[in-house]
């Protein structure tokens, strides 16, 4: 589904270039639940950004199906994210003045996302994450675990084939982490959505069916 070949990313810095990714070769198959682990600064986030088309690699190629990601225009990349990708972030990235259900519907407000049954689709997903009775709450009126569940519902609303999650349990205690990981497992198993999840936590990493370890921008083991 998603293939990375020889992907290298360097950040320009006054002290010299920083290698965030070096020669990454990686193929992600449909239905995979991949966990990415590694120390801080090992390049995990950079890897997700490149997969999402939010950052261009310095060299190498990334293809989604038969689509070239690394050379696509902003418009094409936006459409790619809007149609195929769901995101879950460590900090939830909810819009503070939108209610839970509005946050869930937000990806459908993207021009061209075109789905008319926004409210019922979002209601179904809030049900899936167990928040149907909180749909008119603002993020600040929800606990951290509830906010992250709203974010998971938002990641699902565009019926993506790939969910990219960057330390989704990083701000949650172990019990809440477990709930979120249950959700991911369910989404992966029952809905067949491919998941790539960056995590620090070995407990969270155990939920995946394949692990990739990064160190200094290289893949160490697993792939």
């Amino acid at each position: 589904m998603l293939t990375l070949k020889n992907v290298t990313k360097t950040y320009r810095h006054s002290d010299g270039d920083v290698y965030a990714l070096r020669d990454i070769d990686l193929t992600i198959g449909a239905g995979d639940f991949i966990t990415v682990t590694g120390g801080s600064g090992s390049g995990k986030t950079t890897l997700l950004l490149c997969m999402a088309g939010l950052m261009r690699p310095t060299s190498g190629t990334i293809t989604f199906g038969d689509r070239k990601i690394e050379t696509a225009t902003d418009k094409e990349l936006s459409a790619y994210r809007s149609k195929h990708i769901g995101f879950v972030m460590q900090s939830f990235a909810l819009i503070p003045y939108l209610t839970a259900i509005e946050n869930v519907m937000l990806p459908l407000a993207v021009p061209g996302a075109g789905r008319t049954d926004q409210v019922s689709a979002a209601t179904d997903l809030l049900q899936l994450v167990g928040l149907e009775n909180r749909r008119n709450h603002l993020p600040r009126e929800l606990s951290a675990g509830q906010q992250q569940r709203v974010a998971v519902a938002r990641a699902m609303i565009n019926e993506p084939s790939l969910i990219l999650a960057d330390e989704p349990t990083g701000n949650l205690d172990p019990a809440l982490s477990g709930e979120i990981m249950q959700l991911f497992t369910e989404i992966n198993k029952q809905r067949g959505v491919t998941i790539v999840m960056v995590t620090h936590s070995p407990a969270a990493a155990a939920y995946g069916n394949r692990n990739i370890r990064l160190a200094e921008g290289r893949i160490l083991a697993g792939a």
Binding site: S40, T45, L48, L49, A52, L54, M55, D74, K75, S78, A79, R81, S82, K83, I85, F87, M89, Q90, S91, A93, L94, I95, P96, Y97, L98, T99, I101, E102, M105, L106, P107, L108, A109, V110, P111, A113, T116, Q118, V119, R135, N136, H137, L138, E141, R154, N158, D166, E167, G170
Partner: protein, 413 residues
């Protein structure tokens, strides 16, 4: 919390919700442009009306030569301040008894702002018979006469203005008794006067002889009484503010003006043409003033809207990053910022027009001595200007908003 009825999201609704969220920020961005538009609208409203009023006035004056006191401005002639300079009434006789040729008619006038039934109204003292012949406008129908043209005698003017019932007109003014008065249409409305009503001018009781038909000139706001009554009432002696003269155009080119100047010391003898050119200069000045304000508004308005949008973009960096992440293209973010700015501009244009028009209605009579009504024509112009200025101001913040990348959300650890 907003009410629980849930609607689907669109870019437009997203903008509306965000607007509500940051009301004060948006209103502060609106202030400068609203004030700027208000100033322009006020200036333009007053000057448009004043241009029209003076043009109509001169057109309808029925006179083409004015004798004014030395040092008086044409403004004095219209605004009738309490201390406006005067000239002796006997000058009218001097003209009449001189061997000057080409003076078809004349009308000495005394004009003063006075208290009538508690309202500030301009009272004009006239000599009935004379006033009549050189002033055919009270029976005019249309608002705009022909262009200004010095005509020879009242007859062609009368014709061109459709003035027919001269006898009736003459009779009504000849009948103007010591304590009778004529009331302009607007003044009558303001003071709730009808024919035969009584009114008190500076403590004396007058009877309304007649309410004059509307002329579209300053005369509509005025009350007319017998010159000598007015002089006595105001304790001004035998003085007048001006003598309007209907001169024959040939005579004017033959040096009527300089002859008048010779026999009337300490006066300013001027033709309508000169007044018009004075007015044209004033109008030019007003236009320049408008242009100056226009430039200021474009700068200040654009900077203020730009500043407000800049603050908006800055504090929303994270949100914008999120929008980009979930698939909003750069152009969409760019458009959202521009739309917001243009909505502000639109609101600023409408508000500015409303405030400016109200200011003009209030300031016009106070400072320029003319009634100003809102000029609807200025509304689309204000809105267009304000929206364009807002768009210009927001261009840079919008550009930067489009460039915001969602890294903030992701590279936080």
């Amino acid at each position: 919390m907003r009410k629980p009825s849930v609607k689907g999201l669109s870019v437009g609704r997203l903008i509306r919700i965000e607007f509500r969220q940051r009301r004060t920020q948006m209103i502060s961005g609106l202030l400068a442009i609203t004030l700027g538009i208000a100033v322009i609208v006020a200036i333009r409203s007053i000057s448009l009306v004043s241009e029209k009023a003076v043009a109509i006035n001169l057109d309808n004056l029925g006179a083409n030569v004015l004798v004014l006191p030395q040092g008086a401005t044409v403004d004095n002639y219209y605004t009738a301040d309490i201390d406006a300079p005067t000239l002796p009434e006997e000058y009218a006789e001097t003209i009449a008894t001189s061997d000057l040729t080409g003076v078809d008619n004349m009308s000495p006038k005394l004009t003063r702002r006075v208290n009538v039934n508690g309202e500030k109204i301009v009272l004009t003292g006239i000599l009935p018979k004379n006033e009549l012949v050189s002033k055919p406008i009270w029976k005019r129908s249309g608002l705009f006469g022909k262009g200004l043209k010095a005509s020879c005698g009242p007859s062609p003017l009368n014709e061109s203005h459709g003035y027919k019932d001269e006898k009736l007109q003459r009779k009504s003014i000849e009948a103007l008794a010591e304590y009778d008065c004529l009331v302009g249409a607007t003044a009558a409305q303001k003071l709730h006067l009808k024919e035969n009503s009584n009114l008190t001018i500076e403590g004396k009781s007058f009877r309304v002889e007649k309410v004059l038909p509307e002329t579209g000139t300053v005369d509509d706001d005025r009350v007319f009484a017998h010159l000598h009554t007015v002089q006595r009432l105001l304790g001004i002696g035998s003085q007048v503010s001006a003598i309007e003269i209907m001169g024959c155009c040939n005579a004017i080119t033959d040096g009527l003006l300089s002859k008048l100047r010779n026999i009337l010391p300490d006066t300013r003898v001027t033709t309508i043409g000169q007044i018009v050119s004075t007015q044209v200069q004033t109008n030019k000045l007003m236009k320049k003033l408008s242009v100056v304000f226009l430039i200021i508004i474009v700068f200040v308005g654009a900077v203020s809207i730009g500043n407000s949008m800049w603050a908006n973009v800055n504090e929303r960096k994270k949100e914008i990053g999120t929008l980009r992440m979930i698939g909003f293209p750069k152009t969409s973010v760019y458009r959202m910022i521009l739309t917001k700015a243009m909505v502000l501009g639109l609101a600023g244009g409408v508000l500015g027009y409303a405030i400016g028009s109200m200011a003009a209605m209030w300031l016009g009579p106070e400072f320029a001595g003319i009634e100003v009504s809102p000029t609807l024509m200025l509304l689309p112009a204000s809105v267009a200007l304000s929206t364009a200025v807002a768009a210009i101001g927001a261009a840079i913040p919008a550009y930067f908003a489009g460039r915001i990348e969602p890294f903030d959300n992701m590279q936080e650890n």
